[in-house]
């Protein structure tokens, strides 16, 4: 076989492979959306789930997902930001830094089920938080920290050293330069990273099964006192999220409209995650434009 024939065959094979991959991936998305979207309705999105009869919704799960997401981001962002600032602005090359970087890398590659089990062991059992929003938020924080730290660090590293020198030359300390010069300049890319990580956190289930729990008790959406047990804001109540709900009903659900609920819930989950992913770059680009032109 001469080189030209081989070239043609190889090109053909590569085309075929990419075609198949594109087909698999597109049909997957289409499958979830086409199967799920017809089941979506205001009623479905807002009413509570039903265990034994048809007509249940995903209202509480959806609320739980967002509530947990916000809490997890509120806890993890400052920590990740601090860690990223230290790594990018203060850490000198050396043993300590390389150990820390290795630790973060290992944390980012830990299976999320292990993170969930750790959360179960420490927060649910040892600290007595039980299956609760709080335990879930901490587990999601641990799950989110390494990637968010790395993404913020990358954002900081993209700001040229000229800016740091400029700050130093004006008698500003490293910290003042970082807070007032580097961070504002890095905001667009940090925001992109945060929104992307929010998408990841929103879809996570394995870390939550044994921390936030698998049940969604009825909530009284008129009661916003976080100390009341039926208040949506109560951090000590168990909170099944949308992703966990999808897993749960597919594993052991017995309601007659199981397929419809599962399809609808999956579509909602995917739509939200896609929205996060789409908007991440859009928002980042918009902020960047604002920063350089205003």
């Amino acid at each position: 076989m001469n080189a030209k024939t081989a070239d043609k065959i190889a090109t053909g094979v590569i085309y075929a492979i990419s075609g198949i991959v594109a087909l698999i991936l597109i049909s997957m998305l289409a499958f979830i959306l086409i199967r799920g979207v017809p089941h979506l309705s205001w009623h479905f999105l807002t009413s509570p789930a039903r265990a034994f009869e048809a007509g249940g919704g995903i209202g509480i799960q959806l609320f739980n997902s967002f509530y947990l997401l916000i809490l997890a981001m509120l806890i993890s962002f400052p920590i990740a930001l601090g860690a990223a600032i230290y790594l990018n602005e203060y850490a000198k090359k050396g043993r300590f830094t390389s150990i820390v970087r290795t630790a973060i890398e290992i944390l980012s590659s830990l299976p999320s089920v292990v993170v969930g089990l750790f959360g179960f062991l420490i927060f649910v059992v040892q600290f007595g938080f039980g299956f609760s929003i709080l335990s879930g938020a901490i587990a999601l924080t641990i799950f989110n920290l390494p990637l968010l730290t790395r993404s913020i660090e990358t954002s900081l590293a993209q700001i040229p050293n000229l800016q740091r020198e400029a700050g130093s030359a004006l008698g500003l300390s490293r910290w003042e330069t970082v807070i007032h010069v580097i961070l504002p300049a890095a905001v667009p890319s940090i925001v992109t990273g945060v929104v992307l990580s929010a998408g990841r956190v929103f879809g996570e289930a394995a870390a939550l099964i044994y921390t936030a729990g698998q049940s969604a008790p009825a909530l009284n959406f008129a009661d916003w006192n976080p100390f009341n047990i039926s208040s949506p804001l109560n951090p000590m109540r168990p909170a099944e999220t949308l992703a966990v709900h999808i897993w749960k009903i597919n594993s052991e659900g017995i309601m007659p409209d199981l397929n419809a609920v599962s399809a609808g819930a999956s579509a909602v989950l995917i739509i939200v995650v896609l929205l996060f992913n789409f908007s991440a770059r859009k928002i980042g680009a918009k902020l960047y434009k604002k920063l350089t032109s205003a």
Binding site: A3, Y15, M28, L110, V113, L121, G203, A263
Partner: protein, 307 residues
């Protein structure tokens, strides 16, 4: 001494702020390290108590082929705690998924970087990026509603099993491996390609002999990352594998993985009991395996540097 010289000798506001900021950010970093250390300490100590506290032999655990911790074996007076079925299950689905995904990932990456950059950037890139972010339960739902019935029709049986698990994981790690491979291929310097073409190589020769060779360490890293993700994936696999803790003897009968047994079992056992401890030992294996994957990635990176 005038005012300025005096000020030069004192700690300025900036210096104070800097010390404080440095301390705060170091504290945040230390917190992450403490979390990592405590994950290892707690999971390991629970996992090891199977051996030290409950007196189970490591050999019985790793090589025993019967898993039924709540039943006592009348001969050995020990519960059935052979974890080999799950360990094998995890490794088999991981390797099969990686083997199937690799050619698809490399082919797609080549399409995106070498054959049709424009269409690659316009169509494939966004698809791949979106799919990296799809939650794993969604892959599980697809497995359950499409793949399992499909396998059932073709091969008979329940449809649950290693084959279904493999297919789900294949689709799941495909975007991960592809996007990392694309990054590696893009980092191969342009003059490598140009000099290959300049001496009369066809495009395929250029790809095969130059680009892929130069990108090998990066591609291997991508594959190992994909395997790490597959090995640690819990829910998507648990939904389609059948959850029968039996030695896998063919690809289409129900089996289980470390993660699926953990997901199913940890809530149904009492903390501190042997039935619970052995589950923690499975978690410990997961933990150690993710360390191993990390080490492999590092080793590949180091070898790549030497070249």
């Amino acid at each position: 001494m005038d005012k300025i010289t005096q000020k030069l000798m004192q700690k300025s506001e900036s210096t104070k702020k800097d010390s404080l900021g440095r301390a705060i950010s170091l504290a945040a970093l230390s917190l992450i390290v403490i979390v990592v250390i405590s994950i290892f300490t707690f999971v390991m100590s629970r996992g090891l108590s199977t051996f030290f506290h409950d007196g189970v032999h490591v050999k019985d655990f790793l090589l025993g082929s019967t898993w039924n911790p709540s039943v006592i074996n009348p001969q050995t007076k020990q519960p059935y705690i052979g974890a080999l079925p799950m360990i094998l299950g995890s490794f088999i689905v991981t390797f099969l998924a990686a083997i199937v995904a690799t050619p698809f990932a490399i082919g797609t990456s080549l399409f995106m970087t070498e054959i049709a950059q424009k269409r690659g950037a316009k169509i494939m890139q966004p698809i791949i990026e979106l799919l990296v972010g799809i939650p794993s339960v969604v892959y599980g739902v697809i497995g359950l509603t499409v793949i399992v019935p499909f396998i059932r029709q073709i091969f008979g049986g329940s449809g649950f099993g290693i084959l279904s698990g493999t297919i789900v994981l294949f689709v799941m790690i495909l975007p991960t491996i592809t996007s990392m491979t694309v990054d590696t291929l893009k980092s191969v310097p342009r003059h490598y390609r140009e000099s290959a073409l300049a001496i009369g190589a066809t495009r395929w020769q250029m790809i095969y002999k130059v680009v892929l060779r130069a990108a090998t360490p990066g591609i291997l890293t991508a594959i190992v990352f994909g395997m790490a993700r597959a090995f640690g994936e819990a829910l998507a696999v648990q939904m389609v594998i059948g959850n029968a803790a039996l030695m896998p003897h063919d690809l289409t009968s129900p089996a289980s993985t470390l993660t699926s047994v953990l997901t199913m079992g940890i809530g149904n056992t009492v903390m501190g009991s042997l039935q619970n401890d052995v589950l923690w030992t499975l978690a410990m294996i997961l933990l150690l395996m993710s360390l191993v994957f990390n080490l492999v990635v590092r080793a590949i990176g180091r070898k790549g540097e030497l070249k």
